[in-house]
């Protein structure tokens, strides 16, 4: 079974986790000054990369915490996991 490293609990079986979508999607600071297209982009448009992808994951059947993970979408390898608020470790941008 795939093991995922929870930043709070350590290596845990993948069954305990839920995927939470793309990470580092920042809400526009001033929504009323944002154009309708930018807002639609923020709401609906997500990356679909082949390769490294920064994602939110939740250890729902463990500590219950959200964290971020860098996963390779072609090999399903978790390159690293890190706590929310920390920068993406490979320096790549989310968008």
């Amino acid at each position: 079974m795939l093991l995922i490293h929870c930043p709070y609990c350590g290596q845990r079986p993948e069954l305990e986790f839920r995927h939470g979508g793309q990470a580092h999607v920042a809400r526009p600071a001033d929504p009323s000054a944002t154009s309708i297209d930018e807002w639609a982009d923020y709401l609906y448009l997500r990356e679909n990369p082949k390769g490294l992808h920064a994602e939110r994951w939740r250890h729902v059947h463990g500590c219950g915490r959200f964290f971020n993970a860098l996963r390779d979408t072609t090999t399903d390898v978790f390159v690293s996991t890190y706590r929310c608020g920390e920068p993406r470790p490979d320096g790549g941008s989310a968008r």
Binding site: M1, Y8, C9, G10, R12, P13, L15, E16, H61, G62, C63, G64, R65
Partner: protein
């Protein structure tokens, strides 16, 4: 109803349980009321003497800001009173979950083998030592697992899941016996 004994289970003594959510300030205040500093490391269990002779209250680390208290029902009023008083001035959430949960004591020759039939956690003594606890999955049911001895576990599961957990454990115990 499935016989508990056929699954190597004993019902835990009637208990009161609370879940405490809060930051370090709330945890420190609650620790003073509890009688021992609350656990801060993942999977740690802290125990303290309860107000009833020869019994203990336990505090289980289940998340970075989440601790469960489990204590015999006779100690419940004393512990809850102490916690509510100590936490009165601190932002926190202390919720009574006594009746949501069912406690089961799993003993026998190799209880880790029984659990590992449907629970993928590493339950070796090196990885999951005595007085280690965690929330995890028992096949489809969420459980809280607390190792109380080298060959003894306490399972806490939702009341509505208990029939499923006990029935499945009984099936696995039949396989172990075969």
């Amino acid at each position: 109803m499935i016989n508990l004994a056929s699954a190597g289970l004993v019902a835990a003594p009637e208990s009161r349980r609370w879940v405490l959510r809060g930051h370090a300030v709330a945890m420190a205040a609650a620790g003073a009321a509890f009688g021992s500093p609350l656990p801060t490391r993942a999977g740690e269990v802290a125990q303290a003497a309860s107000s009833i002779a020869d019994t203990a209250r336990a505090a289980l680390w289940l998340g970075p800001d989440e601790v469960w208290f489990i204590t015999p029902v006779e100690d419940g009023a004393a512990l809850e009173g102490a916690l509510r008083t100590a936490l009165a001035a601190v932002p926190h959430a202390l919720v009574d979950i006594s009746h949501r949960q069912v406690g089961l004591l799993l003993q026998g020759t190799d209880p880790a083998w029984l659990l590992n039939a449907v629970c993928p956690l590493d339950l070796s003594l090196a990885a999951f030592p005595v007085n280690c606890c965690t929330r995890t999955l028992f096949n489809k049911a969420e459980i809280v697992l607390w190792r109380t001895g080298p060959a003894a576990f306490r399972l806490e599961t939702g009341r509505s899941f208990s029939g499923y957990v006990v029935g499945l454990l009984a099936e696995i115990a039949r396989e172990q016996a075969a």
